[in-house]
């Protein structure tokens, strides 16, 4: 998942105050009319496999809220559009949702490239986007609420776990060749070096999308792992290239006890299509697993199975992110008493709702969530056995402290600062003092 860029952060810079353009989404004066909620997920094309589930979960959440009497006494009405895994089409559909359908909030996007594509539209039309997927960070827009994990809420704790519990000293950073893995690995490499790992003990490897002939690379990992130090693979390999990768690991007899692989993009949905017996013990880091044993989660899974009419469908981390994001939006609208975007954006900060692992998710001033970090080992039933959980909640670092260009930046959308990229050294806001840096 997650697409294009760190460098694209300069998009959409505007005046420092971030004054709102005439708020189109608030233009429904009729108090009895329904409130429109936009759902912007690909229902066709390559991303459909992952995103269709998120559309379904949004429909379920909206139906549940309507059953509870709607919002501000009005019914919620989902507006589902299909951007067809086509990044420019995401921007068009976002424009349609905001200016034609007057959606009060939009829940959508999966890859970072699609998010980058709609970002200028949301900033221009002052809309609200809830983005539910773990991503590479290095972004903080006033109009986006990032309900997925930032790197320090997934990648860094996973590395810490392996370093501590797994006593790992040698690292292979393997990823698909595009922006999310490259940015994440850049952060991880800086972090590992900071922790005293020698450059000779880090191997970085990139492969194209859909790569299938893993023989030499797995052999390389095996050789790298036989230098007498415990070795682990940190995998940002994306999509279906994971299947032949894990198959080849099994074929070459690399077990999780020899060289564990911790993945950031392999969840319940991806495991559903794989034979998990040879994968037992390999790890994944997320903020939610279907196997979380809490009454809230059981209720959520039951509700999902009833709604989708299939008891075999799995739940996953981005679904929980939408669950949290939607409940937060409902709370913020109730708090603000209106769906006007400026009021809701201000009301969002500080809202906290229960997550599915018996804790609370709070919306921080940087528009990211507090999250628990869970490490799971793949079990032979295709589910994750949770082997580690952070004792408290982790606050997102939207700007990585391990990357030289961003280590002094913070995002804080509370007044009077209201800045997505405030440099604490120079006390200036962003490159042009913008809405979004």
């Amino acid at each position: 998942m997650l697409g294009v860029g760190l460098a694209a952060v300069a998009a959409g810079l505007r005046g420092a105050s971030g004054t709102a353009v005439a708020a189109p989404a608030a233009a429904a004066p009729d108090a009895s009319a329904s409130i429109k909620v936009g759902v912007l997920h690909s229902l066709s094309g390559t991303m459909a496999i992952s995103e269709t589930t998120l559309k379904d979960v949004m429909l379920m959440l909206i139906a549940d809220q309507n059953a509870k009497g709607g919002l501000l006494g009005r019914k919620l009405e989902p507006v589902v559009v299909d951007p067809a895994s086509n990044w420019p089409l995401f921007a068009e559909k976002a424009r349609q949702l905001l200016s034609v359908d007057k959606a009060a909030a939009v829940f959508g996007c999966w890859t970072s490239v699609s998010r980058k594509s709609v970002l200028p539209v949301f900033e221009e039309l002052n809309g609200i986007l809830f983005y539910p997927v773990q991503y590479e960070g290095q972004e903080c827009s006033r109009n986006v609420f990032y309900t997925g994990a930032a790197p320090n809420q997934q990648a860094i704790p996973a590395v810490d776990y392996l370093m501590g519990e797994g006593k790992v000293q040698r690292w292979v950073l393997a990823g698909t060749d595009y922006v999310y893995p490259r940015t994440t690995n850049q952060i991880l490499e800086a972090y590992l070096k900071l922790k005293g790992v020698a450059p000779a003990d880090i191997l970085i490897n990139y492969t194209p999308f859909g790569f299938s002939d893993w023989q030499t690379i797995v052999a390389q990992i095996k050789a790298f792992g036989s230098a007498g130090k415990k070795t682990a693979v940190v995998s940002t390999i994306n999509g279906d290239a994971n299947v032949p990768f894990y198959k080849e690991l099994g074929n070459q007899g690399i077990k999780a006890t020899d060289i564990p692989v911790v993945a950031f993009s392999v969840g319940e949905e991806e495991l559903a299509g794989m034979d998990t017996k040879p994968l037992v013990g390999h790890l994944a880091a997320w903020n939610y697993f279907e196997s979380v044993d809490t009454p809230e989660n059981t209720a959520f899974i039951d509700g999902w199975h009833k709604f989708i009419k299939n008891a075999k469908r799995t739940t996953n981390d981005p679904m929980e992110a939408h669950y949290i994001g939607f409940n937060m939006w409902v709370k913020a609208v109730e708090k603000a008493g209106t769906i006007a975007p400026d009021a809701v954006i201000d009301a969002m900060i500080g809202v906290s709702v229960p997550n599915l692992s018996a804790g609370y998710a709070a919306m921080m001033p940087n528009h990211h969530l507090t999250k628990p970090v869970l490490i799971g080992e793949i079990g032979d039933d295709g589910q994750f056995d949770i082997v580690s959980q952070t004792p408290g909640l982790v606050v997102a670092q939207e700007w990585s402290p391990y990357v030289a260009e961003t280590k002094d930046l913070i995002g804080d959308w509370r007044k009077p600062l209201s800045c997505g990229a405030f440099n604490v050294k120079t006390s200036t806001c962003g490159a042009g003092g913008g809405k979004h840096a």
């Binding site: 459909a48 060749d177 990139y206 002939d213 074929n251 070459q252 999780a256 299509g273 013990g281 032979d380």
Partner: protein, 527 residues
């Protein structure tokens, strides 16, 4: 004498009792929550030497060990629960009152190590070898006593060798071993060679200088051998990739190379072969589960038939109107490839389909320092069988004779009474059928998805053009060259850059030799 015997017996009893007591404690500790405690308990159980330890650890290994709220442990057997401490059946235990004892990687590692030590006395020699290898991997000095005991009784030469190596590994990490013993152990490991031995020698710290020097020289020597084997291994990987390219391109070598049809839907024929494998597997599992291990073999003729018949239909309905118009053929077949992809997506869904690998195709074998993965080995063999079959058809059958006649001189062949349209259809069907068989092989190593073919079509054309159009031998050499070049570039330049380098090399090569490695000569070349 009798007093001595008495003493011995008493000592043994005491030891046995102490062992039993330790085992009881360890079993009890297994019931406590926390991975670290479970791990320590497994280690203690493994060292206790108690006969009851084995079933408990095996149960833990298989995920059949359960704990009740009062910390009593039970093993789930087919007939019902059994008390883990006593081995007595416990029919009163209901499944919903007990919870599975959870394990993580650290515990799994301890289990494997403990099982190794406990199984050294197994009756099956291969189990004893596996046990010795596990002990080698664990190199736990506590296993030395058990190893010595096992070695004293062992007569099987291979098992002995494995045990001697395991003993050497454990000895190196024993704090009280003497320097000559250590030197002997280093020599044993040096003779064993391989990555594991190298890794162990690298891990040793705090050794006497003589041992450290011997270890360092052993590491250098092992490295030298490993490098040599790596080279051979690289060639194997290259042949493996080459054989896949060969399989995928062999059909194209017929349709494009022999008939001159630019078939952009060739990849989809491969994809359909892979989906046929999926369907055949499902059918076999549903109707004759006994044959599921060979369902891949059953899928081979089925895939040939599906893709072949479809190829004939395509030739009769689409391509025959377009002979001699390469641009239109290219566009029409490209459109066809999109139609086929979407059709498969509609029928089977957008998500990938899992084709399972039969047990005889999983795992790896060793040949010296060479690691041969069975699935790749099977594909290499299959690729060359398909090639041999194809050549036999072209060379020795009357259909092959007619095909060659038509492609060499269509008018003359027609004048001799050969029904050229029929031969065209059959040739295209043959090429497509071979592509279908390639799909069976690909289903074993790649994702069975509607996009499967797209990933191979460019490579296929590259192989055929590089090898020389119209020449099967050229295709063989082209496929293997590209495979080996790719696999040697990959570790050096990375997968992305490696591919680019290969492409640039091909472009340069085509500039020099536009007709490929083995161009057709004489009148056939002008046809």
């Amino acid at each position: 004498m009798r007093r001595l015997a008495c003493l011995l017996i008493a000592a043994c009893l005491a030891l046995g009792l102490a062992g039993a007591a330790r085992a009881d404690d360890a079993v009890a500790a297994l019931a406590a929550p926390g991975f670290e405690r479970t791990r320590t308990a497994v280690v203690a159980l493994g060292r206790s030497g108690d006969p009851r330890a084995l079933p408990v650890i095996v149960a833990l290994h298989d995920g059949a060990l359960y704990v009740r709220t009062d910390h009593a442990l039970f093993i789930r057997a087919p007939a019902g629960f059994v008390d883990a401490a006593t081995g007595v059946p416990a029919p009163e235990v209901a499944p919903n009152t007990v919870k599975k004892v959870r394990v993580n990687n650290a515990v799994r590692e301890a289990i494997n190590d403990a099982l190794g030590a406990l199984r050294l006395f197994a009756s099956d020699p291969s189990a004893r070898i596996a046990a010795a290898q596990a002990v080698f991997h664990a190199h736990d000095p506590h296993a030395l006593a058990a190893l010595d005991q096992a070695l004293a009784k062992e007569s099987h030469p291979e098992v002995r060798e494995a045990m001697v190596q395991a003993r050497a590994a454990a000895l190196l990490f024993a704090p009280d071993a003497s320097t000559p013993d250590r030197l002997a152990a280093v020599a044993t490991l040096r003779a064993r060679g391989g990555m594991d031995a190298r890794s162990l020698l690298d891990q040793m710290t705090g050794q006497p200088p003589a041992v450290a020097a011997a270890a360092a020289s052993a590491v250098t020597s092992i490295d030298r051998t490993l490098q040599l084997w790596n080279l051979v291994q690289g060639v194997y990987y290259g042949i493996s990739l080459g054989s896949i390219l060969l399989l995928a391109a062999a059909g194209l070598a017929i349709t494009f190379g022999v008939m001159g049809v630019i078939n952009m839907a060739h990849g989809e024929m491969v994809m359909l072969g892979a989906y046929t494998t999926f369907v055949v597997q499902g059918l076999v599992l549903a109707f004759v589960p006994a044959l599921s291990a060979v369902s891949v073999l059953i899928a081979i003729p089925a895939a040939f038939a599906v893709s072949g018949v479809l190829g004939i239909v395509i030739e009769r309905t689409l391509i025959r109107w377009l002979y001699g118009r390469p641009l239109e053929t290219l566009l029409a077949t490209w459109g066809l490839s999109l139609i086929l992809q979407q059709a498969v997506r509609t029928v089977f869904g957008a998500s990938n389909r899992a084709v399972s690998t039969p047990p005889w195709m999983s795992g790896e074998g060793h040949l010296g320092g060479l690691t041969l993965t069975y699935n790749r080995l099977a594909i290499i063999v299959f690729a060359f069988l398909v090639l041999a079959g194809l050549m036999a058809v072209l060379r020795f059958t009357s259909l092959g004779l007619r095909m060659r006649a038509v492609t060499q001189n269509r008018l003359m062949a027609s004048a001799m009474g050969i029904r050229t349209p029929r031969i065209d259809a059959l040739t295209f069907g043959l090429g497509s059928g071979v592509a279908g068989m390639a799909g069976v092989a690909l289903s074993q190593i790649d994702n069975v998805s509607p996009n499967l073919g797209q990933g191979y079509i460019i490579d296929c054309f590259m192989v055929v053009v590089f090898g020389g159009v119209g020449n099967l031998w050229g295709t063989v050499v082209g496929a293997l060259t590209l495979g080996i070049a790719n696999k040697f570039l990959e570790p050096v330049a990375g997968a992305v850059l490696g591919k680019i380098v290969v492409l640039v090399m091909i472009i340069l090569f085509i500039q020099r030799k536009p007709r490929g490695l083995f161009p057709l000569k004489g009148r056939a070349a002008e046809a």
